[in-house]
């Protein structure tokens, strides 16, 4: 049986099958491309944020008059990672979508009672929703900076 453009019924069926297979492959590839492309983009932003936060932590005065002062100092570093500002205003958005200060881990390396040798900053339990699949970063990105700031054991955080 002949259809339009001189094609038979079987030829038209073949074209549709071809389109269905090709479209399936193409869409899968495009979805994968978006998924990895977006995840890499977010990871790159996280590396920048963690690097900036660790650099800030390494230069900041380390005030240890009380445990609360250490916590306040760590909160400022977390804010630097998440908002790009140690004391952000209430309406500021995170530099990486969905990142929260509690997902930033800070670890001071060194012996207690003296200036730290280094500071480790990393991201924990952060999930990138790339629509087709979600990726969770736990412990990555991780950055260590040597501590070059001022050790102030008797000072309080302002």
């Amino acid at each position: 049986m002949k259809l339009g453009l001189g094609r038979t019924k079987w030829q038209k069926g073949h074209a549709m099958l071809e389109l269905a297979i090709a479209a399936g492959v193409m869409l899968t590839c495009l979805a994968g491309t978006f998924q990895f492309g977006y995840t890499f983009y977010v990871y790159n932003q996280l590396v920048t944020a963690v690097g900036n936060g660790a650099r800030y932590a390494a230069q900041r005065s380390y005030r240890t008059a009380s445990a609360a002062d250490i916590d306040r100092g760590n909160a400022a570093i977390r804010n630097m990672v998440v908002y790009g500002d140690a004391q952000p205003s209430n309406d500021v958005a995170p530099v990486v979508a969905g990142l929260k200060p509690e997902q930033v881990k800070i670890e001071w390396i060194g012996k207690e009672g003296r200036a730290p040798d280094a500071v480790d900053v990393s991201i924990h339990d952060y999930t990138v929703n790339a629509i087709f699949r979600a990726f969770t970063f736990d412990g990555k990105p991780f950055v260590e900076f040597p501590y070059i700031g001022r050790y102030a054991p008797a000072e309080r955080e302002p």
Partner: protein, 140 residues
């Protein structure tokens, strides 16, 4: 014919998203590493030969990694000098050393998709940073 052109373009787009994404991440990771490494090295400089050894060891000790945080940095070069212009891996006048430059040159990233459409097999992502013995404190 049309299918092969489409596949070529598709691979190129995938390559741009996947491989270039990894290249940008590696470049960022390498820069953060050399920034930290140069500070770690500068901190050890005290005008003696052992200070230079400690500086080299401090760079080696840094746990920062690259390639999505999976690989350690290889072939890292540490150079010292009295100013930012004249740097040497083994300076003669150790007492005059105030500057250190760290270079991470050998970060070869394997290219997966772009090479299928004529791109390179690997891409090198070098990074370099310099620090001095008396850095200005920028943050309180």
């Amino acid at each position: 014919m049309a299918m092969s052109v489409c596949m070529f373009l598709l691979l190129a787009v995938i390559g741009l998203a996947f491989d270039l994404g990894r290249v940008y991440i590696a470049r960022n990771e390498a820069q953060v590493f050399v920034d930290a490494a140069s500070l770690a090295a500068a901190q050890q400089l005290d005008g003696t030969a052992s200070g230079l050894d400690r500086a080299r060891a401090a760079v080696q000790r840094l746990p920062n990694r690259w390639n999505l945080g999976t690989e350690p940095f290889q072939g890292v070069q540490v150079e010292f000098g009295p100013d930012s212009e004249h740097l040497d891996a083994k300076p003669r006048d150790t007492a005059a050393v105030h500057f250190v430059r760290v270079t991470a040159p050998d970060n070869h990233l394997e290219i997966l998709f772009l090479r299928a459409v004529g791109g390179p097999d690997s891409f090198t992502v070098p990074a370099q940073a310099m620090a001095a013995t008396n850095p200005v404190r920028l943050a309180e």
